[in-house]
Symmetry: D2
Subunit: 286 residues, 4 copies
């Protein structure tokens, strides 16, 4: 059988930038990491080293800087739309342009006009925009949000096999680092407000549900986003189970309650929650 080229794509990954907007002495800043990916007719480059259709990734980087500089800073979803549409139009060979944006938050130091501190080192706000001839689609999300419940979580009644040694737990620590992504059914959304609403819904559902399993908590969190954000069509959640093992300090004659926080291995629970009958949106496994 002949050997042929299959799916392919290329782009510039992790262009990190700081956007500053000055209103006199008072500045606004935005820190972003942007990755671009182009798909289309690039067979000649692969098969013959003919780069005539290849817009350099260096040019993609320059465009990210320039287009981020040009416009007043809006939501990352809006910037993603501008970038994706730019790349779709940049070259006749491009059939699909995808842009991923991670935003790293800054807050003012005591209301200072131009001094800032990072409020949350771990959590990033995310968006991904895909544009092709049929139009553009937007997904959003967050990554690295650490949450923990010190009670209100059990795990019982599970299946057992010959390798099962786990004891049932009536009251355990439940902790995870949330990766959540959701697709929007259309454009014209107030992206910033929707993100705040979705994030609050995730936290509230996690806190309020008496959890019988991380699967149940995941589903409740996904459902809460869809109920709170009508424009969201589908939610994908990826929840590592950060195990906390109770240490038996009673054998040392001690009271109190302490847990070992384990690194690896960890459980990993993933699922999608969606509106029944909603059309397929962009994939959420980026």
């Amino acid at each position: 059988m002949a050997i042929v080229l299959g799916d392919n794509r290329y782009g510039k990954a992790e262009t990190r930038l700081l956007r500053v907007t000055r209103h006199g002495d008072r500045h606004e800043i935005r820190e972003l990491t942007v990755s671009t990916t182009l798909e289309g007719d690039f067979a000649a480059a692969h098969l013959r080293g003919d780069n005539g259709a290849v817009l350099p990734t260096d040019s993609q980087k320059n465009a990210v800087y320039a287009i981020a500089a040009e416009a007043p800073p809006g939501a990352i979803e809006d910037l993603g739309l501008r970038l994706a549409r730019h790349f779709l139009a940049a070259s006749p060979a491009v059939r699909t342009a995808a842009v991923r944006l991670d935003e790293h938050a800054w807050t003012r130091i005591d209301g200072h006009p131009h001094a800032f501190a990072r409020p949350a080192g771990g959590e990033v706000r995310q968006a991904r925009v895909v544009a092709d001839a049929a139009g553009a689609s937007v997904a959003a999300g967050l990554d690295g949000l650490l949450i923990l419940k010190s009670t209100g979580s059990e795990f019982r009644g599970f299946e057992r096999d010959r390798y099962t040694t786990l004891e049932e737990a009536d009251d355990r620590i439940l902790a995870t680092a949330v990766t959540a992504r959701w697709s929007y059914a259309g454009l014209g959304v107030d992206w910033a407000a929707a993100h705040v609403t979705a994030r609050a819904a995730l936290l509230r559902a996690f806190a309020d549900l008496h959890s019988r399993s991380l699967q149940q908590t995941l589903y409740a969190m996904g459902r809460a986003v869809l109920e709170a954000v009508p424009e969201a069509a589908e939610v994908d959640l990826r929840l590592p189970n950060r195990h906390h093992f109770a240490v038996d300090v009673a054998r040392f004659g001690h009271g109190g309650e302490v847990y070992h926080v384990a690194d690896r291995p960890y459980g990993l629970i993933e699922a999608t929650v969606r509106r029944e009958g909603a059309p397929d949106g962009p994939p959420l496994d980026w």
Copy 2:
């Protein structure tokens, strides 16, 4: 529209183990990181917190340890097949079981019977096995293989737009960290020999091709694997372009040639190379 559960899966990630086999004073050791993922009918856990169909991830971890201990150590592909088939049979709710295995190499210190050193801290050998009612499929690969050419690479004749400032390069550094995965058309392969052959083909193609673009090099590397390993059906390559920028030392009156090694951003080139008409294999984007 009603809210419903979509695709879902769960498992135990990153169980790290060391397998020791003693032949008298002479030992064999194998270090693996194993992740398991189960898909099937787990709706009750998500919707109602009913865990009756949920085999704990703790049990999956125990099974990984036990099954790795039991058998004589073979290729990770063989161990993956045993594990995937075990999990498929472990519970009636399971419809698909996937097992990912990363092997971290050790070599003997001066031929010593039981003292070892790590030869390659960055590179791991990989396999992924998926089993369902229709049978099992095997993919293999490697990650973190750093390679570099100090000449024999150019990048010219590319498309230009208003953001293009890159100059054409007649002779540049080409460096990447290879992530390569390939699927096998069937079972019954000498997995270890095929891995050695594929790895050598990747290196040889990288070294020998005068590169006109990283895309061309990628395709040549993928093609080389298919030509060298007849059992391989499809190859997926993910090649970050680790940019090296020449430093202008002449302005300081110095001769010599030195490059700045950049971290971010970097180009990212991805493509699949496959045999025409071959049936679809398992996805290679793990």
Copy 3:
């Protein structure tokens, strides 16, 4: 010349624990990473493999768990004092016991009694306690506090040599990740209040000073801690200069202001600020 054993120490690094205190439905949680180090007469273990004086690091781990469980949670400085004194008394061979504690903050989700989120993934509060026959000393600090000024920073009038190509900057981005440690002249301090005061002084000094160099900013930050916290004797600051390079978007016909955020290399400025004539405290370079 004979070969002899020099300075030596051992301990258990990075014991991670979660301490839960229940007041009915309302819980308090504390997450700590604790490392212990013992120095003393351990020559026999090194020279002859005689472990009679060696308290296992596993026992040190157990003691960390148990002592953290026993007492009501106080400041990490207080827990450090209890641990250091315990290890000093644990074995006649121990002459100095040092304990390092990193605290990872959690805050309540909407005032929830037992659901929490991580407010700052990057920043950790730190303490280090050293105990020996002469008594105990306490140092405290923080690590990973990201701060940035978008104006109010210049760098001019610097020395030039044949390799100098840097242009003078009237108005540049100043950004760093603060590592700050300070020693206390004695015990009996309100550790938590002192930490809040020191942290606020660092931020305020960074924000308010018109910076002529990162050295000047560093000194002002250290001085501010000593002025605000009378119990602090010496401050050590380690400030990487996270370079932000302005991107020339005007050449693309764009307005706006955008910077490339570089990873490496970076400047690194380190200094100690202390009260003149203060006695030497514990080293601050941990």
Copy 4:
């Protein structure tokens, strides 16, 4: 008490470079990460923002590139000497210049003239040179060398306290990641040969000693370096004890031997081994 400036230093951290030397078609390449640190009279910059004595870290970076480009590539110790002497002379304010160099190895692909692969992603060769008015001193070392013994290691007869639950081990896995640094009594050493000899001595001592504790193994490794390399005056070793816990697979009816590889916590053993009466060399805790 007045507030004053204490010890201080500054420099450029982690300048990464690739040095290429062409002999016709056959190239030599060297990849280095270089950090420079200057100490001296920089009080004016800290106290008054007067930068007249401050050679920018950007100039230090340029000098690293230029001096690495200029000379034929020698041992990193030789390059370190050239750099440290350059910085000592670069400015009258500098009293001590320190240069740290990490070398990342490359080897040829099948003897290819200009295609290379990374043989050991984790291990780096290291050197640190310090120059002041009295002359220069050189230390060398390695970091990230993973080694493991699957037998020939025990841990018994240790001290016990109320928190001791560890059982004595007749036969355990011993694994560590070696950080080793040694100082040279003078210059004029064949640095490359000495490094090869020291590394081999470390491995051989680890493999050959029947270990009664990691302390004993550490001392034997340090002693072996001093015996093998007469120019070395002092050796500092930092050995994390990478714990491997035997998994009880017999309870599942399985034979075989498998261990859980733990991440944290880990034991940490540190000591210096030196020639009695040797003069103090440069500190080895970088």
